[in-house]
Amino acid sequence: MELDELRSEWQEMSNEIKKQKILTDKLIIDMTQERFNNRLKSISIPETIGTVVCFGVAILILLNFSKLNTWYLQLSGIFSILFYIVLPILSLKTIYGMKRINISQGNYRETLEQFAKNKMQFIQVQKWSYYLSFILVIVCLPVASKLMNGTDIFLESAVWLWYIPFGFVFLYFFSKWVFKKYKGASNSAERLLKDIEIS
């Protein structure tokens, strides 16, 4: 069957669909009022709570930074503070980026491009968050131990004998999992951008 033949059949179907009235005034009003609810919910609750917690921890480390009395504890502390401040901001920024696409302004092509680019950006930030979270798991332990118990576990504990080798083995498998997890999503966004460019 040729596409032109289908076009006329499509028109017939369209005429039939046109006769079927689905929507009532009330239903349309209910649907449109949802926008007000959505506006309130546009700030994602889990991400916002997460960001507040991260900022709280960063402030806590910052206020007690003087307790970190060796260069490696200070380095761990700085990494933790940066992690707790920068990543939540980046994460929220990309989430908002996905939500902020202006549907009424752009045409199909522009919206597709923006969607695919924002998605790529979002995936990148998520990927790096996972990798850096792992480093955080390693560095937050000595910082927490020092701030809470005053113990420098680098010196006063044998925990490093198993913590570091175990950490690296875990990092290897963890990285493989992250790569696999985002490969599909990343490929589909790339494919979308390619499809737009094809002439």
Binding site: L27, M98, R109, R191
Partner: protein, 161 residues
Amino acid sequence: MQKQQDFITLIKENEGVIFKVTLVYTFNEEDQKDLYQEIVCQLWKSFDSFRGDSKISTWMYRIALNTAITNLKKEKRKGNRVPLDKSLLNKIDEIDTIIDDRLKILYAHIKKLNTVEKGIVLLYLEGKSYDEIAVITGFSVTNIGTRLNRIKKKLKSQIKK
């Protein structure tokens, strides 16, 4: 109040357009209803921005297609949606029965096309001219022609299989 009434009239006159867009961009009934409501919401949000510079149908298709794109891969997302009453569900089912088998097959094949092609072929089947498709999609008229030729070949080979 007048604005709301104008909007209701517009949606009622064009509800079939929204239905067809949702059919092409979703893979199950639940997502279809979800997208349907999302499109109505977005049309309402953008209603003020419509100044009559373009045809109302051009504006509607643009918003509907753009909404469908930004809802891609969000199938699992659950938001607060207006519960659809039984009569509405029955109506959607009724519409489903009037689409004959050949068109159902065509829909299934259109769903297999990539996102760019889906939008273009939908507008073509809707009887839009190349110029109108170019305005709605932002691709050049020549590009639309090339893409439609490719889509025709693709659909033909898909249907043959």
